[in-house]
């Protein structure tokens, strides 16, 4: 038992470090990608190809003045970014990062918690995410921050519905809420995206909205709201908000890869004559490659599309995404019945 806890702790801290490093370098990649899309080079001064830029940014954030508005609610003001960061990091626990490793007859699953309601867990955590932003915006005692927070909360709640509805059709096909089962069913090239392209499209759109990313970045809409919910934040508290956004992006790419792109499965994985442990390691890197590509899609869309207007955003969410998701469920149900 003690050994079990030790293994899980090591795995959990490994994944924690991984998400932090990935989030750190996402900021650099984001700026690089933005640069290349705009015929520029992006940051390339700090180290070769700008590789030390995230470190420089981090150090800068730490040394910035820690400013707190006089009228702010001190406790909630600190709670906001901490909650956002905590929740962003919690989600990765349920994602299967690779197949089982077998060492000395003992099985080591590359998943922190194989809970049988993995999807529900992820959605529960994601929906708490709105509190971090809401609390931060409220505690700042600033009209722009409050407006940004209100926008964020209504937007996230609206798109959560369509997101969960899109997943229901996947769950109907799989018959399980466990992420591990869902991945195991997509063995080889039998990925869910071939059966549920509409669900994937809805999920992707809602993931943009959930992560507050362009074209749905209205909560921090600079042209109207200064900085949105983090207007009053500075130093590492601001850093936490920005950082959490990139962790969320990483995690939602991981969830998408798991649900629709077969997780750690890859075509012709049965043809490879390697030990199961090597296969699990390859699987991990395959999953990582999928996450990278999906992360690139996030950035690609951000630097392509202009921001939605608020009424368009709500119309798309309630009149477009939700009916489409329900229709998708009905069609999936009919197909399952006929089979």
């Amino acid at each position: 038992m003690g050994f079990f806890i030790l293994y899980k702790t090591i795995l959990a801290s490994g994944i924690l470090m991984l998400s932090l490093v990935v989030a750190m370098y996402s900021t650099l990649i984001e700026r690089k990608v933005a640069g290349f899309f705009q015929d520029r080079l992006g940051p390339d001064r700090a180290g070769p190809w700008g590789l030390f830029q995230p470190l420089a940014d981090g150090i800068k954030l730490f040394f910035k003045e820690e400013f707190m508005p006089n009228t702010a609610d001190k406790f909630l003001y600190i709670l906001g970014p901490s909650l956002t960061m905590l929740i962003a990091l919690l989600t990765s626990a349920a994602i299967p990062w690779g197949g089982d490793m077998v060492i000395n007859g003992k099985v080591y699953p590359l998943q922190v918690a194989d809970i049988n309601i993995g999807i529900l867990y992820i959605f529960a955590i994601v929906s708490i995410g709105v509190y971090g932003i809401m609390i931060g915006g409220w505690a700042s005692n600033n009209k722009y921050a409050l407006l940004g927070a209100v926008r964020a909360s209504s937007q996230m709640i609206s798109y959560e519905l369509a997101m969960s509805l899109a997943i229901i059709s996947v769950v109907m096909m799989t018959g399980s809420l466990s992420l591990k089962d869902i991945v195991l069913q997509q063995h080889g090239f039998n990925w869910n995206i071939w059966y549920q392209p509409v669900a994937f499209l809805i999920f992707l759109t809602c993931a943009f909205a959930e992560c507050n990313r362009s074209p749905f970045d209205l909560p921090e809409c600079e042209t109207e709201l200064v900085g949105g919910y983090h207007t009053e934040y500075s130093s590492m508290k601001l850093g936490f908000y920005l950082f959490a956004e990139y962790i969320n992006m990483f995690i939602s790419a991981a969830v998408m890869a798991t649900l629709f792109f077969g997780g750690y499965n890859f075509p012709f994985m049965d043809k490879l004559t390697v030990s199961p442990n090597t296969l699990a390691m390859i699987g991990f890197f395959v999953l990582f490659a999928k996450i990278t590509i999906l992360g690139f899609v996030f950035m690609w869309v951000r630097w392509t599309l202009p921001r939605f207007r608020y009424d368009q955003l709500m119309r798309l969410g309630w009149k477009g995404m939700i009916p489409l998701a329900i229709l998708n469920i009905v069609i999936t149900g009919i197909v399952i019945l006929i089979k």
Binding site: G35, F36, F37, Q38, D39, R40, L41, W300, V301, T304
Partner: protein
Amino acid sequence: MQLTSNRSKLVSNKKMNFWELIYLPAILNGMRITFSHLFRKKATIRYPEKTREFAEIYRGQHVLKRDDEGRERCTACGLCAVACPAEAITMVAEERKPGEEPLYREEKYASLYEINMLRCIFCGLCEEACPKEAIFLTKRIVASDYERDGFIFGKEKLLEPLDPDKRIDVSRRQTNAVIEFKKDKTKKHNR
């Protein structure tokens, strides 16, 4: 009302068709366009390592010329200051004392000559106004600074060095006719 330019467009409030309503074709087209930009030639010039090519007649930081014998050409007539549209030039004139002939070409010289580089618009009118060919704009870039004081360039920064090898070439700023004329050493102007 008839607009003078023919660029006005009629606004149409037509309903979007199905493909426009679901956004997807337009989004995919946009993404195709941005993706193609990934492989374009980048406009960035990595500045300290590479400098961009300047125009032949680029107008940068000024130089106060000396003549071939190393005497300051400026006679402090003040025409440049009058010509300057930004009023960036200040000068104080002084009479040349006996024994200072190797220093100053004319009988009057500028004891103080300042250009405020923050005011200067690098139009080149000072150069055009100068009857003594004393001031020219060069290809050099005015260095950045943290303080405003640093941008008021006095004679110590504007005068070209005495060393003949370190003279600043301004031939690009002169027309061929002028260069030809300067070869004629019988004229007092060129001596």
